[in-house]
Amino acid sequence: MFRPRPEGPGAAVAVSIEGRTVTVPVGTSAAAAVLAAGFDSIRETPVEGCERGPYCMMGVCFDCLAEIDGAANQRSCMIEVQPGMRISRQIRARTIDPEAG
């Protein structure tokens, strides 16, 4: 559904989305990478487990939440891709380990 604009930067970055390696232009947001790779959704809502994907692309709707490099509930539209970044599905509410640290 999405493809990069022709005038975009030539350089590319390889990231992993749900374990799949995807190459996107430098400066792409993680959410745009998710869309470019053809994913319909990247999270499941905390209570009802409904699938959601990037929507507003400007940090307000929270529908693009994903786990990025191990950090839960990241707004992927606000984060620029870095080489080797691991983007994975946010499955329902995040966990927290009270006894850790």
Binding site: V47, A72, N73, A93, I96, D97, E99, A100, G101
Partner: protein, 371 residues
Amino acid sequence: MQRYDSIVIGGGLVGSAIAYGLARAGLKVALLDEGDVAFRAARGNFGLVWVQSKGDGAPHYHRWTRRSADEWPALAAELEGKTGIAAGHQRPGGVHLCLGEDELAARRAMMERLRVQAGNFGFDYRMLDRHELADLLPGLGPAVIGGSWTPYDGHANPLALLHALHKGFAEHGGRYVPNIKVKEAGAAPGDFCIRLADGEIGAPKVVLAAGLGNAELAPRFGLSAPVKPLKGQILVTERARQVLPLPIATIRQTVEGSIMLGDSQEDAGFDTSQRPAVMRTIARRAVLAFPWLRDLQIVRAWAALRVMPPDGLPIYDQSEQFPGAFTANCHSGVTLAAAHANLFAPMVAAGELDPALERFSARRFDVPAAA
């Protein structure tokens, strides 16, 4: 003029609970709500249904709070049955944490006073040491040295409660009128009329439940409600899987997983702005209690105004000058919602407040002149 059995002024938690109780009792009720320009304490609540710490030196208040907490499960079940809206009520007991020896000693003394003052009514509480608390609450910070526990405390979703009360009220045939700020009213004993945009409505009874608005409104009905705003700020974290098994006075995890941090108190007039210094204090104390909270993102924060009578206790009155006019004011619209729907509304319907409420009259603020 359109006639009702009762007019309730104020569509927040206090007014909605009373209006719901009246409509359920078969009265024809109009509920007047100011609108989004109002201060709307009901939309800024923390959501505790809290008993411990209420009514030190005022056993009638403690008892009223306990009765409400006891009525809560029935009200929540009834509302869910009628409206399909779950108010998210849970009553697993609650804990107040103490971060220092002075706090703990003061808490211990207060809890014991509450027990003594409760008399035959009883007050079941326990002071817990650090180890007992650590068994109850995961990841307790080293700063916590003890706390108090009672089985009476719980929590709920205040927005869902408000929604359910409004829906239940409508299903019992109540008429909800939004965007009306009542400034003028015709008052005579047992005969009140209020002008709306589309004409006058009249009723033999009127209940003033306009929160901070009651201060101006009450004198028009021969009543007094000297309430003032007390600002509270709240921080809300991202949702996480359930980790807190019971609510703490300043920290609770909602059914959906958000963790709410709060309970600041600022005398700042009608200013509802948020202040970083206060937000920082809330966050710092929360992290002292549970260091793992520092890993959670704050996703929302707000400030709202409590409706605070001079002594912190609710105000309930029936006007002597204009019988049929009642006031209801409190800062615990969530905790007392069940008392308002199930206990207070029937008194209004009967036209007489129970003697148990006599001590809540605003006449308590009338200080006799010095001899």
